[in-house]
């Protein structure tokens, strides 16, 4: 039982890098959608409200999206 729990817990260890990349993809989808709807570039507030994610968090995901080395290379160098 303990063994199974440990396995599940380890498996549930999602790394930030992965979660930020997922957020990045969501941000881009919502940005496209809102651009069509509003006929202009959406602001960060508008994207943040639609996604229910903090504006500041979104800026972190933007970096992880366009710069894949961020989060990865540093620790492995």
């Amino acid at each position: 039982m303990g063994e199974i729990k440990r396995f599940l817990r380890d498996d549930g260890m999602i790394k930030v890098s992965r979660s930020l990349k997922e957020t990045y993809q969501k941000v881009y989808c919502v940005k496209e959608k809102l651009s069509k709807k509003l006929q202009r570039e959406p602001t960060l507030d508008e994207i943040s409200k639609e996604l229910e994610i903090d504006k500041e968090e979104i800026t972190m995901a933007l970096e992880a999206g366009y710069n894949p080395e961020y989060l990865y290379d540093t620790i492995h160098q």
Binding site: M13, I14, K15, V16, S17, S19, L20, D54, K55, E56, E57, T59, M60, E63, A64, Y70, L71, Y72, T74, I75, Q77
Partner: protein, 144 residues
């Protein structure tokens, strides 16, 4: 060679900077690629300390909050510092449910939360000089 890095951030004691401070610390620690849970724990602790600096240290008046963050291998050290009111009794402040501002519906659980999400919490404070909270955490997920 062991990975080391450090940074220092200073910002105006405005509640709108709480989210900013949290993200700065997580962006810095994200270089180590911890788990979501580890980063969420650290953010919660940082949030409590920054809120304290703003509402208790400076009592919502103007002031500068300083955050220092250091990474040595898997070890993270975070220092949150204000030059505000300070405290005369740190042990009392640490007690669960103790708050000096019950009228603001504070829970008195800030330090308890920091202690439970971090490995160690040190508080250095002097009345009318200010407060420094040092928090330590070792990331368990790194290198897996």
């Amino acid at each position: 060679m062991e990975f080391t890095n450090e940074m220092k951030l200073e910002f105006a004691s405005k509640s709108q900077n709480e989210a900013f401070a949290r993200v700065v610390v997580s962006a810095f620690i994200a270089q180590l690629d911890p788990t979501i849970e580890e980063i969420a724990d650290i953010k919660t602790a940082v949030s409590e300390a920054v809120t304290n600096a703003i509402i208790h240290g400076y009592e919502n008046t103007k002031g500068i909050v300083t955050i220092r963050c250091k990474i040595v291998g898997k070890l993270i050290e975070i220092e949150i510092c204000d030059r505000g009111k300070g405290m005369s009794n740190v042990d009392k402040a640490r007690e669960p449910l103790y708050t000096s501002k019950p009228e603001l519906e504070r829970s008195g659980m800030g330090f308890t939360i920091m202690e439970s999400f971090m490995d160690k919490v040190e508080i250095i404070s002097e009345l009318n000089k200010g407060t420094t909270v040092k928090m330590y955490k070792e990331l368990k997920s790194i290198g897996k």
